[in-house]
Symmetry: C2
Subunit: 626 residues, 2 copies
């Protein structure tokens, strides 16, 4: 067994209560790596075509990677995946915090959860042993309450808990899997899958450090990261992910009023800088990381916001804030507390409310529909009410809990125009008219609109240190934001394969990319952890392999190139504001064609020889059963 | 300007006598790198379609790379290229020795020779200055004589000379460019191109060491190579490239009697071991290398063999020896002296004689044709006579100087069956029925049958250290010799891109691959030399880029997939001997199709999006002018 892994995957059948430990061969680990790579492998191999996402036949996979739990900055992440109840395709989300590292130290690389428990249960994993435990008394609890209860009954305050809140219990389609109270595997509705299995939580406790092939080399790299990230990620530490809100707002790249606009008056009031000046009480970090990009906020009035749940990140501020026309930081902080406590993806939740607000303002919804709530842009208390109603499936929240794709279909064609989603997943808070390559990335991402296998055009418009880093992939020249030439598509392909790899490793995009750790140092880190004589080429191929498996999964489920779409809104410019350009439909569709060709995806599906090149010929018959 | 380069390319117009120094931008160097990368770039950009290879419109390019001249083992190589008079396609050959390092130390990265001198000339490059000098007195000289004359008239015994012999002067289509008397840029007839330009030699002398970004890191790697190659390449040192002759013979993989057989009685008499026991007087190394895989032999009777010209390598022993049915080591040593003195590619020369022998034995040629020579397999003195006649275009040699493709056409259809060539270039001494993936590589190589952008199946049939090294490319499992599945094609694709890269670097395949220096250490060497924050991914893309440029060149010149062929002989097994298998036509053609698809070459030509991915969209219009 290579270093960096436990060599053990736990398989849990909740229907029968059976727990099995599997020990895959070394080459399984080297090809599929971990995280997203494990998830795409197991989902494709094990799920029959057409499984209902919220049925016992779906599987929920928690997966660490070789870097998870390694004592170095950026190594505190894990992935959660299954077939998505939001997109009915490949579902996966990644999360930071401490839980993933604890899973590794508890002796497992991944957990595959199958079937459905008769009654609510939770899983307890400690030092190589796993038990299914009664969770009936935990059902209905919010995250803090549940975490406290588990720690208390197991008499260990250091237990790490990944869990669903009432959102997941109630099968909100964009419910997330929370861990450590302030970290979310947010996207694609994995919390609903967990809820459908009557699985309330997975509690981990371990004492076995991750085995390292060359501990001294790992230590040296960890020291480099520790010494350099305070410089390279100073803004991230000081102001968190929301540090760029003023920049975005000035450029017209800040999603506002359901993506009708790209800037908003009062944006400065919700920036990371404003937060630091007002409600921030602490900065938080993930396992082994000194960056501290996470926030902790405290508010006493007009809302009481519990610092236990951290503080809002950029995506949350934009989704529950500006995209809903709201610039009240305290209200957003309260919203953040609620989505974390209830276990909802803040992006999809905010985007769904923003969508409903636009419907409301256009008369497609009325107070009759909303139970009297004046669901207008800018109405912070309406937003907060809706978050709670969605999680509890109360009132109009029961409708919105289905996400914008389904709700817009229900309201009718006029509403579909306002539905900012791709493949059923709501857009994250990045303006595709501004970052146009990322827009192409949204349309072809396996999880629908998602920034988590994607690139940010704005970082590469001049010879920045970030672009210098990509020279190690042969990307030598800067490109404009709205360039959609083959050079931009190449950047998208290479960079998103890099991110797919990071999601397999599993490690942090901020540290491993933004902090300029460098492609060679990342390679050396993997070498030092695993002992594999690997290269960055092999690592990118890991990412490409995983991206292809996820694509095959979606093609088998019936997705076609027409589903790699983009809401019409983005082909017209903002009505006002600094950003004057829109996506050009011709350039956009041409870029997708270039992407398919570069990927070896004729007609959007991986060719047999692309699968062969990646050593996954076994996926070909699955592709052909579509 | 990056370290590792001079930043200067010398352009010489022999028609006008004009010398120009060009200074390309850094990104030119980073994308095209050197050696093969420069050659494929300049040939495609600068040669109009359909140029006559032996006309003044062809260009001859001498190119070093960033590793050429770096003080580390394996770094004493350069490339020579132009449109091939043998294939009428992309032509290029690489050579070891000292000349390439001297070119770098003399201040240039490459020389582009254009036009044709009125009278024989040579080029003298010293410490950044270049002159065209009269060579009328050198014309007709053999290599040693010419080198001595140049050193004498320039009064510097340390001048390094690359030159043609009478073979190149007489436009033998497989004439080579010799350097340092015992090293040849052998294949594709670059000596004839040089001869057609009336350019006898390029003499270099330089005192400027190659600039290194991190001299200490380079030193450390050089020390590693120096300490480890005596172990990893012990057999190569002790017995040279001919060390494997007994193994090949036992397996039926030793080309014998024009590839009719794969083994020969008396093979042991021509092995590297036999040479060491008999005629070997010294071992030689290239610049900065301690491997000493090159030989120096001395024979006094029945032939006098001058040790100045080194000794025969494997390819020469098989081509002039076993493939001609000859196992007389002294005769082969004499043949080696002759091809080096006259400047002929020993492979094509031997293969052409072997072809003629088969024609002779089958009555397609008679003594009337051969001027009385009894051109039968096993007749060593006939072989030696033919080598001399070919170089001097005397007697029947004038016919054979055209190479097997042209001679077989002249003799007629019955002879074509015996013509072991692809695209006009004679097969090197590797049996494609034995190494079947290499056979596919022969058929798709840009230079026709060539082992210099290729892989050797025999190294990967079990978990060897060589295969372990390739795990860093994601090649994890061994494969049988005759496997032609997508796994084998992937190996061919990745590995030949690696070799294409080594030809761009320019450095030695033996040291950088066989000696197990390792993919990461090679990457670190490039990083330490150039200062570029590169990865193995970028380096493989350099190789892929160069392979694609060469392919575009050939497609523009009219080559199509039908030209990626294989002599029919190889689809039937040997008449006798240990090797029982042949190439299976269906598997072979399927493997080529897989290869095209993996390369992004629909219908055999690079797609616009493959060119885009490699950042060479500029080549697309050239492709379309076909």
């Amino acid at each position: 067994m290579p270093h960096g892994y436990n060599g053990k995957i736990l398989r849990v059948d909740l229907s029968s209560g059976k727990l099995v430990t599997e020990e895959p061969p070394e080459n399984f680990y080297r090809q599929y790596f971990g995280g997203e790579g494990f998830i795409s492998y197991f989902l494709l191999k094990e799920l029959p075509k057409g499984v209902e996402p919220l049925s016992p036949a779906n599987k929920l996979i928690f997966a660490a990677g070789p870097l998870t739990g390694v004592p170095a900055g950026g190594c505190g992440r894990h992935s959660v995946g299954g077939k998505s109840p939001l997109t009915r395709g490949y579902g996966e989300a990644d999360s930071g915090g401490y839980w993933g590292a604890e899973l590794k130290m508890a002796g497992f690389d991944a957990i595959i959860v199958e079937g459905k428990a008769e009654k609510p249960v939770y899983l307890f994993i400690k030092d190589g042993e796993a038990q299914i435990k009664d969770a009936r008394h935990l059902w209905g609890m919010k995250a803090l309450e549940c975490q406290n209860a588990i720690r208390e009954e197991l008499a260990d305050p250091n237990i790490k808990v990944a869990q669903i809140g009432p959102g997941g219990e109630n099968l909100v389609r964009f419910a997330c899997v929370m861990n450590d109270l302030d970290a979310a595997a947010g996207r694609t509705g994995m919390g609903a899958v967990m809820g459908s299995k009557n699985l309330k939580a997975v509690a981990c406790r371990g004492h076995q450090r991750v085995s390292l092939a060359d501990p001294q080399a790992v230590k040296d790299i960890a020291r480099w990261i520790k010494e350099n990230t305070p410089i390279t990620l100073k803004g991230m530490r000081d102001f968190g992910t929301a540090r760029l809100i003023p920049t975005l707002n000035n450029a017209g790249g800040l999603p506002t009023r359901n993506f009708q606009l790209g800037s908003i008056e009062g944006a400065d009031k919700v920036s990371g800088q404003a937060m630091a000046d007002t409600i921030l009480v602490n900065r938080r970090a993930c396992f082994a990381c000194s960056v501290q990009c996470k926030r902790e906020v405290k508010v006493d009035e007009p809302y009481v916001v519990d610092p236990s749940y951290g503080g809002p990140e950029y995506e949350t501020i934009a989704a529950l804030g500006t995209d809903c026309g709201i610039t009240d930081l305290k209200a957003i902080a309260k919203g953040n507390e609620l989505v974390n406590a209830y276990g909802l993806d803040s992006i999809s939740c905010g985007a769904t409310i923003a969508f409903a607000m636009e419907c409301f303002e256009n008369g497609l919804l009325t107070k009759k529909d909303t139970g009297g709530i004046d669901l207008r842009f800018g109405n912070a208390s309406a937003m907060l009410q809706m978050v709670e109603q969605i999680a509890l499936r109360q009132g109009f929240g029961d409708t919105l809990a289905e996400g914008v794709a389904r709700v817009s279909k229900k309201i009718g064609p006029a509403a579909e125009e306002f539905a900012m989603h791709i493949k059923g997943q709501e857009l994250p808070m990045h303006e595709p008219r501004w970052k146009q390559g990322m827009g192409v990335g949204f349309s072809i991402s396996p999880t629908g609109a998602d920034h988590c296998h994607n690139m940010h055009d704005s970082v590469y418009t001049e010879m920045t240190p970030s672009l210098e880093m990509l020279q190690g992939m042969g990307i030598l020249e800067p490109m404009p934001l709205n360039d959609l030439s083959s050079a931009k598509v190449r950047l998208l392909k290479y960079y998103s394969e890099f991110i797919h790899f990071l999601n397999c490793a599993v490690c942090c995009y901020f540290v491993m990319s933004l902090a300029l750790v460098g492609l060679d140092r990342i390679t050396q880190l993997v070498r030092s952890v695993t002992g594999w004589d690997t290269t960055f080429f092999e690592l990118l191929k890991v990412g490409e392999r995983s991206a292809n498996l996820a694509r095959v999964f979606n093609v088998r489920e019936g997705f076609a190139t027409k589903d790699d779409d983009m809401p019409q809104r983005f082909f017209a410019p903002h009505g006002s504001g600094p950003l004057k350009v829109a996506l050009d439909p011709e350039a956009f569709h041409k870029a997708k064609e270039i992407y398919y060709n570069m990927m070896g995806w004729p007609n959007g599906a991986p060719s047999s020889d692309k699968l062969g090149e990646l050593g996954i010929e076994w996926a070909l018959p699955l592709l052909q059963t579509k």
